[in-house]
């Protein structure tokens, strides 16, 4: 019965990417995309924890209006470093470098990425950039906000601006190389029969992300470099007293950093396309629309950066244009939302842990996206700029969107990556805690911001109640995020074998063993089915297998 499908392999242990070498060298000098992904996973998680510690410090400080836990200078450093670690060292690499690295080549039936050494190099660059940044933070840190706005960053701040900037500069190359690698891989490494329109939507999303990475990242690298040059050599670039223009910094910074939002969210959307279709066991609605909306987001995402500068002195005409384009860029995201909803309609939905994250994403990202339109409206934004409304908005997109999608993806592919199944019970509990804790943390911040609570410094006493809500929510969120660390680790030790296809899905990654062999497939696959094909065309008896599976209890 089900043993036929999820049976453990009997006989000598099958050689896979994990057990074909145990030395440190076999990891550090590996060219296997799967091992590199695992090393990324560990590093990214460490940065997430460090960023999370800063977040806890912020929430604890904001429990009271007085600055009693952190002194003002320290507080500036804490929120700056929270932002820098989370954005540059967690959000940007997380889905591409961990999930993309691991699963993208398998999804398209390739043995590895097209440029395996470049892949390893990108990991090392990430490590060097990360180590450099951590060193700078330990030396004394930086207090400019993650946006490094001039002239404060070039002229007034006497913290480690250049060192941290250099860390981000170095790290940028890691992201460029990953993007380049994915593009080349999708162009050249697809298995026979894997046409462009048979690619899983996760691959399309990664492809669009990669375009943004290689087109945008050089600009932030150059911007940070110019900032360092001005600080170091007093060349007038951004400082008006020596002939520069501070608004130029904002143009250059946001030319990258708005698209960087899409570097963070697009891969998340790719994961959600997988989850929604697969756990509704229904072919995705409007495949081409979702695929091209990813590309459209990548392109239009470059045309809206001025919406971060409505009140910072850019011309009113530019504000109008950027405001209009911001409304336009919402359309492709909305297309995805509608298509996911239509996919679930009359689907056979199963509420496994990954799907809980998938559904959670849809609700939270909806709120995050729509409040973005509030902020893009050129009139309302004057009231909302630099308030907690902005903080709430981007946390709904970044945490409610990207982090939720990342967690969903981790839970979804965990059995493939490790060959082990985690506790579904604890998975569901933690997904619920994350959802509830997240909303309790950030929804009050919309209200606070609308009422006028500024970001980045203290607030008047009448705002305390909602801030207490927010901090309480953060503790629930914290528990929800620590739980996976425990039960996923525990699953490595005592989890039951997952089998090759625990969710009974048609994708290529579910047609190889778990964990996959170093070559990914024992025989080169030939693709004869469309993406998300649950019927006979998939060549698998998924329904029969699932009927048997339902005998199995949770």
């Amino acid at each position: 019965m089900q043993d036929a499908i999820t049976a453990e392999y009997s006989g000598p242990p099958k050689l896979n990417y994990l057990n074909n070498g145990f030395t440190l060298k076999s990891w550090l000098l590996t060219k296997d995309h799967k091992r590199i992904a695992i090393m990324y996973l560990i590093t990214v998680s460490l940065f997430f924890m460090a960023g999370g510690l800063y977040a806890s410090a912020i929430r604890l400080e904001l429990l009271t209006p007085a600055s009693d836990l952190l002194q003002t200078g320290t507080y500036n450093k804490v929120f700056t470093q929270h932002g820098i670690l989370m954005i540059f060292f967690f959000l940007i690499p997380s889905i591409p470098a961990v999930l993309g690295n691991f699963i993208l080549p398998i999804m398209i039936g390739a043995k590895d990425l097209a440029l395996p050494r470049i892949n390893l190099l990108s990991l090392y660059i990430y490590w060097v950039g990360g180590a450099f940044t951590v060193w700078a933070l330990l030396q004394g840190g930086v207090d400019t906000g993650w946006t490094f706005y001039t002239p404060y960053s070039t002229t007034f701040s006497n913290t480690y601006v250049m060192a941290v900037g250099l860390g981000i500069f170095i790290n940028g190359f890691s992201s460029i190389l990953t993007g380049l690698n994915f593009i080349v891989t999708v162009h050249t490494m697809r298995a026979p029969g894997m046409t462009w329109f048979r690619l899983p939507l996760f691959v399309w999303a990664q492809y669009a992300t990669s375009l943004v990475m290689i087109l945008g990242t050089p600009v932030i690298a150059i911007t940070v470099l110019l900032l360092a040059i001005e600080r170091f050599a007093r060349v007038g670039i951004f400082d008006p007293t020596i002939g520069g223009d501070p608004i130029l910094f904002q143009h250059m910074f946001w030319f990258y950093s708005h698209p960087a939002v899409y570097i963070m969210i697009l891969p998340g959307m790719g994961v959600i396309s997988e989850l929604i279709s697969n756990f509704s066991r229904k072919k995705i609605f409007g495949y081409e629309f979702i695929a091209f909306s990813s590309i459209a987001i990548a392109v239009f995402g470059f045309l809206v950066w001025g919406h971060h500068m409505f009140v910072s002195g850019q011309s009113v005409y530019a504000g109008l244009v950027f405001s209009f384009l911001t409304m336009v860029v919402a359309v492709p995201s909305a297309i995805k939302m509608f298509n996911w909803t239509a996919t679930m309609y009359k689907g056979s939905i199963s509420y496994d842990t990954p799907m809980l994250y998938g559904i959670g994403f849809m609700g939270l990202f909806l709120i995050g996206g729509l409040t973005g339109l509030f902020l893009g409206a050129i009139g309302l934004t004057v009231h909302l700029t630099d308030t907690y409304f902005v903080v709430a908005h981007f946390h709904y997109v970044m945490v409610g969107g990207q982090v939720i999608a990342y967690l969903g993806g981790i839970h979804y592919w965990w059995p493939k990556m490790t060959g082990k199944m985690y506790s579904e019970f604890w998975g569901k509990i933690s997904a619920m805690l994350v959802f509830v804790g997240f909303n309790l943390t950030f929804f009050p911040q919309f209200i606070l911001g609308y009422m006028g609570m500024p970001r980045r410094y203290s607030y008047p006493p009448e705002f305390q109640v909602l801030n207490i809500f927010s901090t309480a929510g953060a503790s629930v969120l914290g528990v929800g995020l620590i739980l996976p660390l425990i039960y996923l680790t525990q699953s490595l030790i005592s989890g039951k074998a997952a089998g090759d296809n625990p969710w009974m899905l048609p994708g290529l990654e579910w047609r190889t063993s778990s964990p996959p062999p170093t070559e990914n497939f024992d025989v080169m696959p030939v693709v004869t089915w469309e993406a998300y094909e649950f019927g006979e065309e998939s060549g698998l008896d998924l329904e029969g297998a699932r009927a048997n599976e339902s005998v199995r209890t949770v």
């Binding site: 087109l215 600009v219 608004i247 045309l303 950066w305 011309s315 005409y317 530019a318 244009v321």
Partner: protein
């Protein structure tokens, strides 16, 4: 066809660029740099305001094109590479034009008080 495949393996680029050609392009770049310097010493605002910037950018653009076409062998590369090169310029143009869209409309006018 066979010839093409052979080329593919032998790194065709080396056939197209010889040492004298490399030196030639290098000299073009040096001349461009010197030209940029002298152009900057003359006030060209009598033509139109900001003409100096335009001249400097034109020289820079020419130099960059030389580097890409010959040093980076784009001239002999497949269409996909051409497409990527042109697309990245398009991106740069977006950055410049949308930034200028701000700077050039700062003066009081229809949209500003």
């Amino acid at each position: 066809m066979a010839e093409y495949e052979q080329h593919d393996h032998d790194h065709i680029e080396h056939d197209h660029m010889t040492i004298p050609k490399y030196i030639g392009i290098f000299l073009v770049l040096v001349v461009g740099t010197i030209l940029t310097y002298f152009a900057a010493t003359v006030d060209l605002d009598f033509i139109f305001p900001g003409a100096n910037t335009l001249v400097a950018l034109l020289i820079a653009f020419t130099k960059m094109t030389c580097v890409m076409l010959f040093f980076m062998h784009v001239y002999w590369s497949p269409r996909m590479i051409w497409l990527s090169a042109v697309a990245s310029f398009f991106w740069l143009a977006i950055m410049f034009s949308y930034t200028m869209q701000d700077y050039l409309t700062r003066d009081p006018g229809v949209f500003s008080p």
